[in-house]
């Protein structure tokens, strides 16, 4: 069975979902029986799963309040049109 340190290291080096299936199984087994490590690392995995869920939705919603100003948009359009004339 993996030690807590090995589990932490595996999760530090890879996202849970990116680990090969045999490692994921080993980790799950460890997390099931190890109370302390289980909690610390399960929290990392929960966060990663939540983010993955959001990512998989390919959500285009704008969550950050930043927008291109009209000036910036016109500037880019102008540069694109100059490029098209070349």
């Amino acid at each position: 069975m993996l030690t807590c340190k090995q589990v932490s290291k595996a999760l530090a080096e890879n996202r849970f979902d990116d680990l090969p299936s045999h490692k994921r199984m080993g980790l799950q087994l460890h997390l099931k029986f190890c109370m302390f490590c289980g909690k610390a690392n399960t929290q990392v995995i929960q966060l990663q799963k939540g983010i993955k869920k959001m990512h998989d939705k390919n959500d285009d919603e704008l969550y950050v309040n930043v927008r291109l100003s009209d000036e910036a948009k016109n500037n880019i359009k102008e540069k694109m049109s100059i490029n098209s004339e070349r």
């Binding site: 080096e13 969550y63 540069k79 694109m80």
Partner: protein, 194 residues
């Protein structure tokens, strides 16, 4: 993104995708001017490469792929200019407590809410990005590259000019800070709503 915007020609790109791409760049670069530059370069590069676009993915995600490279280049260049101080990191690494046989000697507090379900809520996503924006640059960049973009340890260390131990510590801090920020803000929001 509506159907009309999926694969429109370059003349409508800036209006259709400009804000989306700016947000993508801003979350990673945390600097409006740099994010705008990256978006502008992306549109110009996309325009030049449009002949090679095969239409298999919506144009927005094709442009986002180009932007991703621009963002990583920018981060790589700016990270080279920042010297790494390992002293503090080593202290934190020492504070990861493992008993004999590599057993964890910590009992972290439970989440105050279910993070997997919270990510399905739009209000939560706003708070999530708000919390990321409150992190220090190096924490936020490492966290986003790792947990949102899915880069490997090797890639992130290369881009951010870090050692794997630095990265481990940085991610540990980022998650800890994010957890506490999410708990505080989301609990407040949830109490206000329900």
């Amino acid at each position: 993104m509506n159907d009309k915007e999926i694969n429109n020609g370059p003349e409508t790109w800036v209006d259709d995708h400009g804000d989306y791409l700016l947000q993508y760049a801003y979350v990673r670069l945390r600097n409006s001017a740099a994010a705008e530059d990256a978006v502008q370069e992306t549109f110009l590069a996309g325009y030049k490469a449009f002949e090679r676009y095969n239409g298999k993915t919506p144009v927005r995600y094709w442009l986002r792929g180009i932007l991703r490279h621009k963002v990583v280049d920018y981060i790589r260049k700016s990270s080279r200019e920042v010297p790494i101080d390992d002293t503090e990191n080593n202290e934190i690494l020492d504070s990861f407590n493992f008993k004999a046989l590599g057993i964890f000697d910590q009992n972290p507090p439970d989440w105050k809410f279910d993070p997997e379900h919270a990510f399905e809520r739009k209000e939560f996503m706003k708070i999530f990005y708000e919390c990321i924006s409150e992190m220090k640059d190096n924490l936020a960049q490492a966290f986003v590259l790792r947990e949102i973009d899915g880069l490997s340890t090797d890639e992130i260390c290369k881009q951010l000019n870090l050692t794997p131990n630095n990265l481990w510590v940085i991610l540990h801090r980022a998650r800890k800070q994010l957890k506490s920020c999410l708990e505080s803000k989301w609990t407040k929001e949830a109490n206000g709503v329900f």
